[in-house]
Amino acid sequence: MSGLVAALNLALGIAYLAIGAIALIEIVQARRTLGFSHFGAGIVGLAFTCGPHHFAHGFHVAFEGRSGGPLDLVTVLVGLPTAAVWVGLRIEAFRRGRGDRFIAGTPRWLQALPTAAGMYLTALVSAGLAVGAGGLTLRAWMIPNLLLIGVYLTIASFLLRTQIRNRGPLRGWSLSGLSLTGIFPTCALMHAAWVVYAAAGRYEFDVHGFVAGLLAVPAGLYFLWTVRGLFLDTVRDWHVRSPERAGQPAAAG
């Protein structure tokens, strides 16, 4: 089990780093014509802190004897498909494919998703309480992970709100949107599982994960600040600068 936990976390870490790298390249390439993108920088911040966090955890499990628990494995296994779907769609879009799939109406499997999520959450909470039955001790180095749970759930709520609001006009769902929405709460649960094991004394303090977590909190808050500013039009991002001012002809349509 530890081997699988390590492999999956390493894979997640590499995937998030790749996402961050792609976003960084896009920012650099568009900077001359469209200026700086706070939103893009926020994505880079999230990816370049969450990725190393998973990477460090996987490394410690694989090579330094940290024992990955079943909660660790389950949360990563549940989160992996949704991340894989979104990354796969991005790869397709990168290769000039559609990059998305339209789900017409609300099929039964999608209708069952909230119930399944509730059951999953119930099982996780039960398991977490069972792990913590022997007593939980919260230490200062666990606090960044606690804060990240809140940050990622907030991001997930924005995504979920958009999917639900788009459901009416689209008369269906976007697979890209749903998969992206699924990444953040599952990631939050991964961090919650980590906190439980750390507070139960199974995980020792490691400086790499702590630093990654410490940087991830302001990165997440910066991202949320950007999102809020874009909704309120208090943040000027490249999406409000007209191409004419950048010396390019207006985009068609």
């Binding site: 398991a127 609001r165 006009p169 909704f231 999406h239």
Partner: protein, 583 residues
């Protein structure tokens, strides 16, 4: 800039609760409380079984054998049982199914308690949940009976297979969850009961509500002519509350007149006597301020089983507005004729001059032709307004909605008006103004009319302003002047068709009286609103609010099933923010 920042400081609603409320269908009142809860209890039972299955590997203070036994019992007995109950409820729907299923729940949990001692205390709290479920079907007494039986069975299980019950954080959590469920269910039951009572009262008042809301005044009198019923519309028409009218006679309260004579109801209902000859009567009332209120009256009798007239039902319709509309139309015809005749007279005059004096000099000829052209354009504009008004009246004006970028539109119309009139127009347009939803032609007409009015009604040459701002949902355009302004009555009537502030005999300002009517109609056709703030000699400000093309956080226009090529843009799109390529 200041307005933009002020608008930006407004906190956005996260909107998740509202979005879910929009997405989920609101619960309706169909069927009895018991039937509805029965329908929901059986699926809940399945979910509880599945959750118990998921949580059973983590049973605290237990051996691996205990956990395996519990897992096996739930998977092989409890879960199939709950699914079977659910399937049976869908197929048969018997009212005995609920109590029978509850008894099955209790017996199965007793089996778990006996077979797996560590599950004993957890099961006890599971009993509380079962009791709560049954309370929702069979009432609180039934739930308490189930709870009592469950407690007795727990003692029996302990006697049959003694073992330490485990009370720890897990079981305490289950206990709290069960109690919480009980409180929620009972609370829901109480609310449903109250709602049922309220529904009953509502149905009882429905007939009264229909009568109260009918547009015509309805007055019911008994055989002696005493008022026994007086609806809301009658209160409004007669300006007399029902408690003042009921118990008095029609004649005393209404004082109706036919032609110049007052109707005499001393020998019975006068309207009833007159009704033999006409279908609907036009009568009048004299109001307290001496004005006459024209009414259309109808009357019918209600007879008892013996055939005598027991009650008389009178209905009245206030046709004051119809009469005023007629007068306004007459005034409009006179005004429009005058407006049309003025340019026609000039055209006719100059045309005749050109015919009578063919040797006119080139300069004089050009002057005449320019005057003819100018007046023809004016005439064309008047006719266009009349035609547009007519199309609006017939409901044949349809606005083709599109995303409107307001700043260039407002700048262009302001420039044209400035050039045509020589008046300076101050523009205050918020930077980064979001697009609005509307029709380009309709908006152009609206802005032109408002600017034209602002110029016309500020003859002293005061400043004219055009302002544009936006908030999360609306884009607002204001046109203001510092001219003659309007008083309260004028403000209330200025959007009415054919209304003009001045009588036809003493008019300082030209116009047909349909401009603002057209403006309001077009604004409403675009889904917007218009309001006016004005005071005599302090100018007027007309404010048009249009729907913002896309409130923050809603659907971003993109073909379904196609993502943005850029990762950043796609992430933005799914967050409800407009990506850069569609700026």
């Amino acid at each position: 800039m200041i307005e933009a920042r002020a608008a930006a400081r407004a906190r956005p609603s996260l909107g998740l609760r509202h979005a879910l409320a929009e997405a989920l269908a609101p619960p309706g009142i169909d069927g009895s409380l018991q039937a509805r809860l029965m329908r929901s209890v059986h699926p809940v039972r399945v979910v509880i079984a599945l959750s118990a299955l998921a949580a059973s590997p983590f049973l605290p203070a237990s051996t691996a054998a205990d956990r395996r036994t519990l897992l096996l019992l739930i998977a092989s007995a409890y879960l199939p049982y709950t699914v079977a109950v659910l399937a049976a409820s869908r197929r048969f729907g018997s009212r005995w199914l609920g109590p029978a299923a509850t008894a099955g729940d209790v017996l199965l949990v007793f089996l778990f308690q006996t077979a797996v001692p560590p599950a004993r205390t957890v099961a006890l709290f599971g009993y509380i949940l079962i009791a709560a479920l049954y309370a929702s079907i069979g009432g609180l007494a039934g739930g308490l009976i189930v709870g009592g039986v469950a407690a007795a069975l727990t003692v029996l299980a302990q006697a049959l297979n003694p073992g330490p019950p485990a009370i720890d954080g897990f079981t305490l959590t289950m206990f709290a969850a069960s109690l919480g469920s009980l409180a929620v269910i009972l609370g829901a039951a109480t609310r449903e009961q109250r709602r049922a009572n309220a529904e009953l009262a509502r149905l009882h008042e429905k007939s009264e509500a229909v009568l109260a809301r009918v547009g015509d005044g309805v007055v019911v009198t008994d055989a002696a002519g005493t008022i026994v019923q007086w609806n809301k519309s009658a209160e409004r028409i007669a300006e007399c509350p029902s408690h003042s009218a009921i118990g008095r006679t029609c004649g005393a309260v209404l004082g109706l007149r036919l032609d110049e004579g007052e109707l005499d109801c001393s020998g019975g209902c006068a309207l009833l006597a007159l009704k033999d000859s006409t279908a609907v009567l036009e009568v009048t009332r004299v109001l307290a301020d001496g004005r006459r209120q024209p009414l259309l009256a109808d009357v019918a009798t209600l007879r008892s089983s013996g055939g005598e007239v027991s009650e008389v039902v009178h209905s009245f319709r206030d046709i004051t507005r119809l009469r005023e509309a007629d007068e306004a139309k007459t005034l409009f015809l006179a005004t429009a004729s005058h407006e049309l005749k003025t340019p026609l007279t000039v055209i006719q005059g100059f045309a005749k001059t050109l015919l009578v004096f063919p040797d006119l000099g080139p300069q004089d000829r050009e002057t005449a032709l320019r005057a003819i052209e100018r007046r023809a354009v004016q005439l064309n504009g008047i006719v266009d307004r009349l035609l547009l008004s007519s199309r609006i009246e017939m409901g044949r004006v349809q606005v083709v909605h599109s995303r409107l970028d307001l700043p260039p539109i407002l700048e262009e119309r302001a420039d044209r008006m400035s050039a045509a009139t020589g008046r300076q127009i101050v523009r205050e347009i918020a930077p980064g103004l979001p697009p609005a939803l509307g029709g380009l032609d309709a908006l152009t007409i609206v802005v032109d009319h408002l600017l034209d009015n602002a110029v016309k009604y500020s003859p002293e040459g005061g400043p004219i302003g055009v302002r544009a701002t936006a908030d999360a949902r609306r884009v607002t355009v204001s046109v203001s002047d510092s001219g003659i302004g309007m008083d309260d009555e004028q403000r209330a009537l200025c959007f009415e068709k054919f209304w003009q502030a001045e009588s036809s005999e003493a008019r300082r300002f030209a116009g047909t009286g349909i401009g603002l009517y057209i403006v309001r109609s077009l604004v409403e056709a675009m889904g917007g609103e218009i309001r006016v703030e004005s005071a005599p000699m302090q100018g007027s400000t007309f404010t048009v609010s249009l729907v913002r093309a896309e409130p923050a956080g809603t659907a971003v226009p993109a073909p379904a099933g196609v993502a943005e090529p850029s990762l950043i843009d796609e992430f933005m799109r799914q967050m409800g923010i407009r990506p850069r390529r569609q700026a």
